[in-house]
Amino acid sequence: MAVLKILVVDDEPGIRSGVARILKNFKVTYPFMDEDYEFEVFEAATGEEGISMIEKDQPDIILLDNKLPGMQGVDVLEYIRNNNLNIVVVMITSYASLDVAVKATHSGATDFIPKPFTPQELKSSIENITKQLYLKRITHRLNEEGKKVRYQFLSVLSHELKAPLNAIEGYLIMMKEKQLGDRIDDYAMPIERSLRRIQGMRTLIMDLLDFTKVRLQRREDRIQPVDLAEVAADSIATVRPYAIQKEVEINLVKKSDATVMADPGDMAIIFNNLVSNAVKYNVVGGKVEITLDSTDDEVIAMFSDTGIGIRPEDMGNLFTEFVRIKRDEIKDVTGSGLGLSIVKKVIDLYKGTINVESETGKGSIFTVRLPKNKN
């Protein structure tokens, strides 16, 4: 429930209490609003009193009588304009001075209500203004958030792309200036490192492509029954060369049929990332076990490894874009810092969940649950 503050500036006590009474239980709701709006009414009998209350109570809306004992309504309007206050002003005016009201709208008043008004007239005016205010606020907020998120993303991205370029450029300059000697063999390390940084950059770019794909939406036309056992087998085949090199053993355990309505590409993203992580962050000679199971409404995929585990302090940021956990044991592991954030996004798309249990030095278990039907 949101509250808008309304200040009534009018020298007639009847008008002030009338407004307060009419708006006391009035609520503005509209299907697109995420909450209802209610109103709190403040009263001022003169323009001078009105201005001091503007400063004190910071109203969102002012109902302003033009004809006041001292300072006039237009003067209050001018005060608001001169101080760049973000307040919606509605002039209350008698029919006799409609021209004044029209003039007032030229100098900043949003609307005017002719006096005497019925409760319905007041309510409909307030309702319009509320919707206007709501839309203004929501647009403002979305713009700000959108800008911030986009900016943050691009800035970190440019840093992630620039670091490998710097490294490779540095090595090329060393070669150009023959800093390490005259023979090509003197540069084995720089060449090896450059290739590695290029590989890391390629991973990042591939992940970015996944990332933009996922951001868009689920492709309804690609949704079909997908047997997760097949997806798992494909992922295992992809990671196998690396697993052999690290002497990591991968097992697939199928407890029951695990078929889900999904886009096969999306399922591949989940499995490829989680299986390769389980190998990447494992120890030499370690084990990875993928268990598929299902209940009446969901399929469950568990990825357990005997790796280095995740420290409690790193848990919170696990699914955040570009966050790479820094630990001595994994200094040489390349990654974009996008993998798990992509996995999370895909799972969200299917209204599923992902859950992590881990013990430092012992290993981690990632549990993914996906609803069997696409909704």
Partner: protein, 131 residues
Amino acid sequence: MNKGDYTVLIADDDPDYLFQTVKALERAGYRVDAVASQAEAEAYIAQHKPDIAIFDLMMENDDSGFILCYKLKKRYPDVPVIIATGVARETGFIFSLDTRNEKEWIKADSYLEKGVRPEQLDNEIMKLLNL
């Protein structure tokens, strides 16, 4: 004293940047001690006193460079520190050491963008060591 009498401590978690900078500094004639993390740098500082230090800003922590700066200055107030970072321009995390206010909370003596040419780095070091 010539450059070979000065020890430069450099801390950076990018192994390539570290390797290249170490080479550049050695070619310029300095003695160089390299460490790859904030933790290693802290252990180093506890044992040795370098003549000048170059710290990467973001290592284990987003502000590792500042933390190291603070710890080094507390122990050896006379050792100049350069903060090297690649993050400033991209992240909008812009700071310099131009105003007194900034000098007060950033304990570094100088601040360099990563990717500066080796001569620039050498010049900066010579300036801070009064060579």
